[in-house]
Subunit: 383 residues, 2 copies
């Protein structure tokens, strides 16, 4: 197959042939503590009250694009059982083996996670496989716009680009990084796709406002669509030892030597985020493209963000919550007790069986300090 | 005995002969919910972290004035066992009967409670008995000044007055009622005692400030010292049926007919506070005196008041509390869990096994609304 045949491979509806979704399920969600814990992180929670956890909702969103057997989840060893319990379809190997659930022996950051998935997909599905990486703990609404963006991204990926989705900003957020677009790629089947001129870290508000005024900037949601081969070739050029290590592990993954190779090679892998390893240097060389994503997206990074997503200010059983002169106080009622808030309009109260957190939406970013504080006191049991 | 012999009856140290303390232990402490509950009210709690409950501290404070067997507690039937467990010395009747613990079949307000105690003391100790009534749920520091005030009050009581203690105001509080003093009584052994010109309800701040500017006003702490006979004679003049009912019950109290008489008469008693039944009308007729109390007093009416009493902002195990940018947040840690407060300097967090309350010191008076709210929802189990 060649990229010349892409348009015939892209039905407007239904799974995209040769396209696989990779869902890295990691990150402790520290700023959502004590709801999110190291042992039961954010992606395992139903944070929207939809009845589906963030991980399940992510898989649900991707199946229409990749088919029933097209989602691969990469997670830490300690979360593998919980992931399997939430998405049993991943256990589709012989005797229910977790063929589409890759368990990392230890956290090595996002490049190792996504690179491992890319290398395993390459082994299993051949040179033309395209992968799309979508975090397990983001919230999206607007399925149609999401699918449209991803379908365009696949076209651009087949043309050889590392493709990201640029989310339409609803305001000058200081909580997200930005992607700056340049000239159109000029692909017939991906008319919105443009070159990426660069990525920026979280800006201050003034800078963010200036970004939006140019019309060139969108939020970087950390979604990447790319041919597995292209990704691994870029990685081989940037960090050869990491690419070689991942390829060696992937070659052994579906055979009898997986554990031995993992044990030997995994601890040697470079810890680096995919943004730093690939997106930024390749963008500087002109190899990254962006497609616009005009859907609602949030990384649910903290309680302010969570509050903005909920249709009710209670996450949990609202009959256990009483508000007096505090109609919008955000209450996470997961402790099995009653919660009463009097006169604190901006309050955030998170009730869990062993820890209660009280803060305000304005202090949402400071919750990380609470986690640090308990760690300093040696209370790792709470983290 | 006559009042002419009072000075010889008043040693400057040691118990005052013929003087008995009455401790009405009632009131739900609604504004201290969910720490204080109807089933386990304020007076049963150690609210100061002293190791003694408010009831125990009240008894401790009175024993030096009345002797080991001079304290009588009046409480509701449902709290009698808890009171006895906290103050076992009250069970000094035959076979450990609760001779000094009077259990009311149902709440009939403070006049019935104190009047019953007065009538029982009159039966047991005769016409010259003087009683002092001190609430079970107030906090006092300054033992010497307290004792000095009470000893003066007893002198004035023996001279026939209903005597209250006027607390030196530390500011124009709007949370307390005030007592206004007039001319000195002119008693040699009670040189500070003055006539009372009147009582006022809780004023607004402007009024309170004006009160203090006159030098005539002090806080009314609801303490009354009076001869039992004088109290009951005033009551007979004001509300004859109530006085007669109490006397009938008291006559039967230490005999076999107590329960039968209680069952018949108690429900007929007028519900009224002693302030309205006695203090206000008798003051208007010139029969009330005040002695100054230059000690620290608080009725611990709400969490703002509680916060002001504590030397640490944690009531409970401080190792279970973490504050981030909230050094003075008041935390009541009685839920067996950890409490974390981030960025809310004014916060009040009360953690109990079945209810957590989050408010601010500024909203301390509104906590009552929370209790009302849960009652409206039928959650009497929380109250």
């Amino acid at each position: 197959m060649s990229t010349a045949s892409t348009s015939s491979l892209l039905p407007a509806q239904g799974p995209v042939p040769g396209f696989h979704a990779v869902v890295p399920a990691g990150g402790a969600g520290t700023r959502l503590w004590p709801l999110s814990r190291a042992g039961h992180p954010k992606f395992l929670h139903d944070l929207t009250g939809s009845g589906r956890t963030l991980l399940q909702a992510t898989v649900d969103r991707l199946v229409p694009l990749v088919g029933d057997d097209g989602v691969l989840v990469v997670t830490g060893h300690r979360h593998a059982d919980a992931v399997a319990a939430q998405v049993p379809a991943l256990l589709d190997g012989p005797d229910g083996a977790p063929r589409r659930l890759l368990a990392e022996p230890s956290p090595r950051d996002s490049m190792a996670a996504i690179g491992l998935a890319a290398a395993v997909l390459l082994e299993r599905h051949g040179e033309d496989v395209v992968l799309g990486s979508f975090a397990a703990d983001h919230v999206i609404s607007g399925t149609e716009a999401f699918e449209r963006a991803v379908r365009e991204a696949v076209v651009a990926a087949r043309a050889g680009y590392v493709v990201t989705v640029g989310i339409r900003a609803t305001g000058p957020s200081t909580a997200f990084g930005y992607v700056r677009s340049g000239e159109p790629l000029g692909l017939a089947d991906a008319p919105s796709a443009r070159h990426v001129r660069g990525f920026t870290e979280k800006p201050d508000e003034e800078t963010a406002t200036a970004y939006l005024a140019t019309g060139e900037y969108r939020w970087n949601a950390g979604m990447f669509v790319v041919r597995a081969r292209v990704l691994l070739d870029h990685l081989a050029a940037q960090i050869p030892t990491l690419a070689a290590g991942l390829s060696e592990i992937a070659a052994a993954w579906d055979g009898p030597d997986r554990d031995a190779v993992l044990e030997r090679v995994w601890p040697t892998l470079t810890r680096i985020a995919i943004d730093h390893a690939i997106a930024e240097p390749v963008a500087a060389a002109g190899g990254v493209a962006v497609v616009p994503g005009d859907f609602t997206w949030d990384d649910v990074g903290d309680f302010e963000s969570l509050g903005g997503l909920l249709t009710s200010p209670t996450l949990g059983d609202d009959t256990t919550v009483l508000r007096v002169d505090a109609p919008d106080a955000l209450v996470v009622a997961s402790g099995g007790r009653t919660v009463t808030v009097v006169g604190l309009a901006d309050a955030v109260v998170v009730d869990t069986p062993d820890a209660v957190l009280v803060t305000t939406r304005a202090h949402a970013q400071s919750v990380k300090s609470a986690v640090d504080g308990w760690r300093e006191r040696g209370r790792d049991d709470l983290l």
